[in-house]
């Protein structure tokens, strides 16, 4: 055990600042939701696309500090990626944030919400 906080500096900063958080308004946004009932984690992900690629990304999240920080980290990395390939390197996210193994499951909630938002967008674009 250590004198240090159970939260890494990265988590602390992303949790404090939550860049990219919020519910967007305006046209062209689609969103997807996912939940994990045990921890009451709830993520709603918003995507905007141009030419089949992510143009912008916003999120709403209820969850633990690691989940909130992960959402902020991921939101920052989606721009430009093809809607058909938004798979996340969750082990890398977990490592970057120092996320404890017991919480890995919560990161999938983010992935699921993103996938659903992308699915909606793809359907609209098609």
């Amino acid at each position: 055990m250590s004198e240090h906080s159970p939260y890494s500096d990265a988590v602390a900063r992303l949790f404090r600042e939550t860049p990219g958080a919020g519910r967007p308004d305006g046209p062209g946004w689609a969103n997807g939701e996912a939940r994990e009932p045990l921890s009451a984690t709830h993520v709603r992900w918003h995507l905007q696309a141009t030419g089949g690629r992510v143009a912008a990304s916003r999120y709403e999240v209820r969850g633990c500090p690691h989940t909130i920080a992960a959402a902020a980290l991921i939101a920052n990395q989606l721009a430009g990626r093809p809607l058909t390939d938004l798979g996340l390197d969750l082990p890398r996210v977990a490592a970057l944030l120092g996320c404890p193994a017991a919480k890995f499951g919560r990161l999938f909630v983010i992935q699921d919400a993103i996938a659903r938002a992308a699915h909606v967008l793809a359907a609209e674009e098609a």
């Binding site: 906080s5 939260y7 602390a12 949790f15 939550t18 958080a21 919020g22 519910r23 939701e33 045990l38 921890s39 009451a40 984690t41 709830h42 993520v43 709603r44 709403e60 999240v61 209820r62 969850g63 633990c64 500090p65 989940t67 909130i68 017991a102």
Partner: protein, 384 residues
């Protein structure tokens, strides 16, 4: 994280009162004395122990000889429960306790189940009170012991122990009461409550951690099997060299609690209510526990629509406890709040704010403002 967060976790542990520290230092600077030794230093140590025993006894209206010093309330709870169950096993092998008890009580009961005892755990009502009728229904001729806490450590709910004691008397069961959170906060009179065994802790009331006591009624004297043997100290119930500085510290803390407890409790009650008035203005905030039968120093509130761990982290300039993490090792939602019928989400999204001698109005107001801001921010982040 700011260097000095506002400390609002007095139900976990309290800072030493400087007068308690002075009493301990007087021992730590004395020539060494093992109270079991026959020479003058040993006798002086013994005198200090006996003075403290009288001070502890006095706060609960007990005779000094009924006080057995232990290493804390955890040990006192275990000595009472394991000791009485094992010591009365020939009479019966059934115990009754409550789902909202402290882990020390529940885990001791769990151990007894492994030793072949049957344990009935009562569920309190949604405000945390145990119905005497439910206790009556649970008692059987094989019930030797009932264990019910006086003040709950998460919600502050004050149990009607005298009413429960009456049920125990009718059935001839012993009654153990965990009063670790009650001492110095509300009046305790072991005679009026009619209890057989009562656990106390020093560090919840500005005394040192690592020292506590078990009150053991004198007449009739319950049969207890000790947890540890050797030396025969404390009437054979708790062998081991007596930690004089610790005991003197507990004595000083209990003396101060006797002298200053009532006005201090009134002051804390005022602060607690002020805090609740500020928090209840947040929509979706729920008081956990009983609105009336509760101790002055604990306020427990659940907030809809936020994650408890995130709330605690957002409040890292407040030192307080959350239903999300009652202990550093577990992230399970509070089993106490679950037993009061809160769902997982509300149980987890709770704060236990507990007050103590150093708490000021300013601290309470700052804490209320920060909590409101944090809840509002987390709600604004969450999906509507």
């Amino acid at each position: 994280m700011s260097a000095d967060p506002i400390y609002l976790d007095y139900a976990a542990t309290t800072p030493l009162d400087p007068r308690v520290r002075a009493a301990m230092l007087a021992c730590l600077e004395s020539p060494p004395g093992n109270p079991a030794a026959t020479h003058a230093a040993g006798r002086a140590a013994r005198a200090r122990v006996e003075a403290a025993r009288a001070e502890v006894a006095s706060l609960i209206a007990a005779p000094p000889a009924a006080i057995v010093f232990t290493s804390g309330a955890t040990e006192a709870d275990n000595l009472a429960i394991l000791g009485a169950a094992r010591g009365n096993a020939v009479r019966g092998r059934h115990l009754v306790s409550v789902r909202t008890e402290h882990r020390a009580v529940l885990d001791a009961c769990g151990r007894l189940e492994r030793e072949g005892f049957a344990v009935t755990l009562l569920t309190p009502d949604r405000q945390g009170l145990v119905d005497p009728g439910a206790l009556r229904a649970a008692l059987t001729p094989a019930t030797t012991l009932v264990s019910v806490m006086l003040v709950n450590n998460e919600t502050g709910v004050v149990q009607d122990v005298a009413a429960l004691a009456a049920e125990c008397r009718r059935r001839g069961a012993l009654l153990h009461v965990d009063a670790a959170q009650a001492a110095g906060r509300i009046p305790i009179d072991v005679v009026a409550l009619d209890v057989d065994l009562l656990s106390l802790s020093a560090h919840k009331i500005h005394g040192p951690v690592g020292i506590g006591a078990l009150y053991v009624r004198r007449e009739p004297r319950p049969t207890l099997v000790p947890l540890q043997f050797g030396g025969g100290q404390e009437g054979g119930l708790r062998s081991g060299t007596l930690a004089v500085h610790q005991i003197a510290g507990m004595g000083a803390a209990f003396r101060l609690a006797a002298a200053e407890g009532p006005p201090e409790s009134a002051r804390l009650e005022g602060l607690r209510d002020r805090l609740w008035r500020a928090l209840e203005m947040l929509p979706g905030s729920h008081l956990n526990g009983h609105p009336v039968h509760r101790a002055p120093h604990i306020l427990n509130v659940s907030f809809e629509g936020v994650d408890g761990e995130a709330l605690l982290f957002a409040l890292d300039d407040l030192a307080l406890a959350s239903g999300a993490a009652c202990s550093a090792e577990s992230g399970e939602p509070s089993y106490v709040l679950r037993a009061l019928g809160r769902d997982d989400a509300l149980a987890q999204a709770s704060l236990r704010i507990s007050l103590g001698r150093p708490t000021t109005v300013g601290e309470v107001d700052t804490a209320a403002a920060r909590i409101r801001a944090a809840v509002e921010r987390l709600r604004s982040l969450a999906p509507a």
